[in-house]
Structure formats: C-alpha cells, structure tokens
C-alpha cells in the first residue's frame, strides 16, 4: 500500500466512522444527561439534609 492510498482510505474511514458514531452518541448521550442530573439532584438533596 502506498502512503497516498493509506491517507485517502483513512480520510474516508474516519469521516464515515465519525458520522455514524455521532448519531449514536447524540441520542445515548442525551439519555445520560438526564441520568446525571437526576443523580446530582439526589446528591445535592442529601448534602442539604447533612447540612
């Protein structure tokens, strides 16, 4: 394989791979935000009780 072939192949693999990953991460990441905020709310109410 030549350097030229390697880099052009890599460009397309990275571009397509990233596009696909972005869709997955956008949906599942939004779900994670909801979970994180719920946990933080719980932690912060515990801290209030401790205070």
């Amino acid at each position: 394989m030549t350097w030229q072939g390697l880099w052009i192949g890599m460009l397309w693999v990275v571009l397509v791979g990233f596009a696909a990953m972005s869709v997955v991460v956008s949906f599942l990441g939004a779900r994670d935000i909801k979970k994180m905020l719920a946990r933080l709310a719980e932690q912060s109410s515990d801290a209030d009780v401790d205070d």
Partner: protein, 560 residues
C-alpha cells in the same frame, strides 16, 4: 560618513522596508478576510448559541454543592455522555487550527498525527492502561494520586509542574482561536479585531465556568459535540465537492515536497518527529489531565475503557479532518493565482525575503469562501463552542489542580466553600494570563510544535511516574520527584529557549529531539532514584481527598 553611520542607516532603511512590508501584508489580509460569505443571519446564529451556553451555566449552578460535584460532576457521567464530553474537550478550535496549519504546510503526511493518536487511544481503551486503575483510586486529580502512592512533596511538585505546563500550553489558544473567528467572519484584523474577540470570548467562558464548574462544562461539551459533528461532516463534503478529490491529490503531489510521506527527511516531519509523536500519543492519551479528569468523572472503570475505545474514532477525526481542511485551503489558494481572487495567492504563497504570511488564516479564509450563508453561521457557532469547551475544561482543570494539589496541601484544612472560591479565583487569574500571553507571545514554530513542547513538560514526567506507581512495586517517592523534575526539562524544546541552546551548542535540535531526550532522562532518573532511595514499607500519613477529608489508606499498585 563614518562606517558606524552607514551601519545605522542600513538598519533604519531595513526597518523601514520591513515596516512597509508588514503594513502592506496587513492591508492585504483585511482585504482577504473581507471576501467571506459571513452575513447578518450568521451573526444571529452565533450570538444565539453563545447566549444558550451562558444560560446553561446559570441553570446548572444549583447542582455544584460539593467539590466532587463542582470539579468531577459527582462521578456520575455515563459512557456516551463521556464520549461526547471527551470529544468536545479535546476537539477545540485550537485543535482545528493547528491541524489545519499542519495540513496546509505538510499535506497528507500530517495525517500520521491523527493515525497515531487514534491507535494510542484505542490501545488505552482496550487495555485500560493507567486510566482504569487510576479511576479505581477514586482520586479527582492526578497529583492527588501522587500523594496516595508517594508523598505530599510529590503531590505539590506534580501539581506545580502540571499547572505550569497546562497554563503555558493554553497560552496560545485564545489568540489562535480569535484568528479563526476574524478570518471566517471577515472582521478587520487591522482594527484590533483579534484582541477584542479574545476579550469577549474569554469573558463568556469565565462566566459560565466560574458558575457551573464541571457540570456546565459537560453539558455544553455535549451540545458542542452534536453541533460540531454535523458541521464537520457537511463542511468536509462541501470542500471535496468544491475542489474535487482528484484535484486535491494531484495538487499536493505536484506542489508539495513529500506531501504524502511523513518519514522522508525533506517532509515537514521526519523520523525523530514521528517517533516523538508515537511517545507523545501514548503519554498524552493516558495522562493528559483534561482527558483524565473526564475519566475520573465516569461512573465506573468499565465506562472509562468504553469511553476511550469509542473516543479513538473522534481522536483520529479531530486531527485528520482539520488537516484535510488545511490541505483543501492550500489547493484552493493555489488555484486562485490567476483568478479574480488572486490576492489570496499573492498573500499566502508569497515567498519573497522578509515576507511572513500568517498561515493560520488560510483555513478560515478558505471556509469563509466556500460555505453558504446559514451554514457558515452554524460552523462558526460550532467552532466557538469548540473554543469554549476547551477553555472551560482547561481553566477548570488547572485551577482545581492548583487548589487541590498545591494550596490545600500547603494550607492544611480547607472547607469546601473555600476550595470552590479559590478555584474560581484561579480560573479568573489564569484567564487573565492567557489573554496577556496571547497578545504578546510571538513564536515561529508550528502551533502544534509549541503545544507539543509545552505539554511535554508535564506529560513526560507524569506518564513515567503514574505508570511506575501503578505497575511497579519498587517505585519510590524519591524516584517520583526525580522523574517529574527530569520530565519538566522538555520545556527546553520551546522555540525561544531551544534557539538559545542550539545557538550556544552550535546544534540544530528540534522540539521532538528535546522531547525524546527528556523522556529518556525521566525514565532513567525515576528508576535510578527508586532503586537507590526506596520508601519506608509502611506509612500512616493522612491523604487529603477532594473535600478535605482524610483518607488513611495509601494506594497500592495494580500489581498487588
């Protein structure tokens, strides 16, 4: 006339010519950036986006009640949000700019950086090298681990080196980012546009980072990820559509010396550069504090591994795609030589004596020409988001290290409220430093080379000391301190210092060769001092955790 007068006259004449050329170049640059497609609609999109970011910072402020929540998001970040925030942080506007510059000057050969970083990230994701055992330690910063495993001196020294390297490293972020915004929006670079943009952006970042800490940082990182990933893919396809893939390849083949081969001596890179990039890739992916702080905020070490594995794609992307934009900018500019837009080639391809075209403007000027109204606003908003998410994370990271690992261990007892307040003060102070450094620092190195040299000051020592602490039973506090100090010698590779050393020695070492030497010194010193001065077998000293509570269980290496 005396010979001295002739000399003075020559100097004055030369200075006059240089000043004239600079003014001419500056005038050309304003004319060049004014050819952008950026319109009022795009300004509305950008301002709207900035306002949303500030509102998020205000809204999540109520969750930041403990230090663990403020700097570690309560250790409750899931895998996918972790991937988004890792990408958001490490895909900063400065990343886009330095890779574009590397692509613009080095062609496709610059893709090797993305390839190496992607592979290193994948290796760390699959093995959990350093990051997984570090997450199990339940520390919030890397120097906190130094105290658990070694002693308090190692923690304070590690904290000082880490924050110094990090702050120096981000010194060029603000000015480089502002050049992008000036280049793409068409603001007049001669009319103080760069310092004004720097100031406005810094103020926005300071407001929402000071208010919300890591929680607001993570949520804005996520928003940035969504906007930027859309923008990156569309922009790349548009660039290929505009220039044609065959034409891009042909132009690089014809007009760039070794535009494909990164190990050729005549390329922008070479063997020592590539070797240092491999070492740097492994070390930064494993120990770069802003990345590790994401790993430490994850809910489990399995989530950390998944986060790194998936982020390997975005890590390769964050370097390859902007480098490709830089290549496209080169091809675009080259083809304007005989067109109505010929001023681009006149300015950027000027190789006459004394000419110093600012290559950092090439990619934003190119995007300003090819992106349509509306999309250019979205891309700019995404880039500002990239800029802000890197700044907020870096500001939070360095300031929290200064408080947790330097001020608190020296002062002793500190309340959570005091720690958060100190962190906020440091965020503002670092912001002021970065603003001033961005205005006054002038170096001729590639942006990437400056970042590599300043970053190496920290990561060479840290990688050795962390890996040794986690995987080698005989690692000692004396070894850690020696390793950290020798690792910090990589700062000698920064252009202004390196030039002086090369001048004295009559050598031509580059930053990569300085970096490789400092890695060697650090490993040697760490092993030698650990063997010569071992630690006492037991220790009852208290270790302060994030909120100032003492943890009396010293860390044991993963091999135990």
């Amino acid at each position: 006339m005396s010979p001295d007068f002739y000399l003075l006259s020559d100097i004055l004449n030369f200075t006059d010519v240089m000043a004239h050329q600079t003014l001419l170049a500056a005038g050309e640059l304003s004319e060049i950036v004014s050819g952008t497609n950026f319109s009022t609609i795009d300004w509305v999109i950008v301002v709207g986006y900035l306002m949303i970011s500030v509102v998020i910072g205000l809204l999540v402020n109520r969750y930041a009640k403990s230090m663990a929540a403020y700097i570690g998001a309560g250790r409750s970040v899931g895998t996918w949000l972790g991937v988004a925030t890792m990408t958001g942080t490490e895909l900063g506007l400065v990343t886009v700019m330095y890779n574009a510059e590397a692509g613009y000057k080095g062609g496709f050969a610059s893709f090797h950086i993305g390839l190496i970083f992607g592979i290193m990230m994948l290796i760390i994701g699959l093995t959990g090298f350093i990051v997984a055992p570090l997450r199990r330690e339940r520390v919030l910063t890397i120097p906190e681990y130094y105290e658990k495993r070694y002693n308090r001196t190692a923690r304070i020294l590690g904290g000082v080196i880490l924050s110094m390297a990090g702050i120096l490293n981000m010194g060029v972020f603000l000015s480089v980012g502002s050049k992008f915004l000036v280049g793409i929006t068409g603001l007049n670079p001669d009319a103080m546009a760069v310092p004004i943009v720097m100031t406005v952006l810094l103020l926005i970042v300071l407001v929402y980072t000071v208010l919300g800490g890591m929680i607001s940082v993570i949520i804005t990182d996520f928003v940035q990820f969504v906007v930027l990933s859309f923008g990156v893919v569309i922009t790349t396809l548009l660039a290929i559509g505009e220039l044609g893939m065959d034409e891009i390849v042909k132009s690089v083949e014809t007009n760039m010396e070794n535009g494909f081969d990164p190990i050729a001596a005549e390329s922008q890179f070479g063997v020592s550069y590539l070797t240092f990039t491999v070492m740097m890739g492994l070390m930064t992916c494993a120990v770069w504090p802003t990345m590790v702080s994401r790993a430490l905020a994850m809910e489990s070490d399995t989530a950390v591994k998944r986060q790194y594995t998936w982020s390997s794609i975005s890590f390769a992307m964050r370097m390859v795609i902007p480098a490709f934009w830089g290549i496209c900018a080169f091809v675009f500019i080259y083809h304007t030589a005989d067109s109505a837009d010929g001023i681009l080639a006149e300015y950027f391809l000027d190789t006459s004596e004394g000419a110093k075209p600012d290559g950092a403007y090439a990619m934003p000027v190119f995007l300003g020409r090819i992106l349509p109204v509306g999309l250019i606003g979205i891309i700019t908003a995404a880039m500002i988001a990239a800029f802000m998410s890197t700044h907020d994370s870096y500001l939070l990271c360095w300031s929290s290290v200064l408080v947790q690992d330097v001020v608190a261990p020296i002062k002793g007892e500190m309340s959570t409220k005091d720690r958060i307040n100190y962190t906020r003060v440091f965020i503002v102070l670092i912001g002021i430093f970065v603003w001033a450094w961005g205005l006054f620092y002038e170096g001729d190195d590639l942006i990437w080379d400056y970042l590599a040299a300043t970053g190496a000051m920290y990561f060479t020592g840290a990688a050795v000391v962390l890996a040794g602490g986690l995987y080698w039973k005989r690692a000692s506090s004396a070894g850690a301190i020696a390793g950290l100090i020798c690792g910090a010698s990589a700062v000698l590779g920064v252009e202004v210092i390196r030039g002086k050393i090369n001048g004295v020695l009559g050598t031509e070492f580059n930053h990569a060769e300085f970096g490789l030497c400092s890695i060697g010194f650090s490993i040697f010193a760490f092993i030698a001092f650990s063997l010569l001065i071992p630690d006492h077998p037991t220790s009852d000293r208290p270790v302060l955790d994030a909120d100032g509570a003492s943890d009396n269980q010293p860390s044991k290496q993963a091999g135990d």
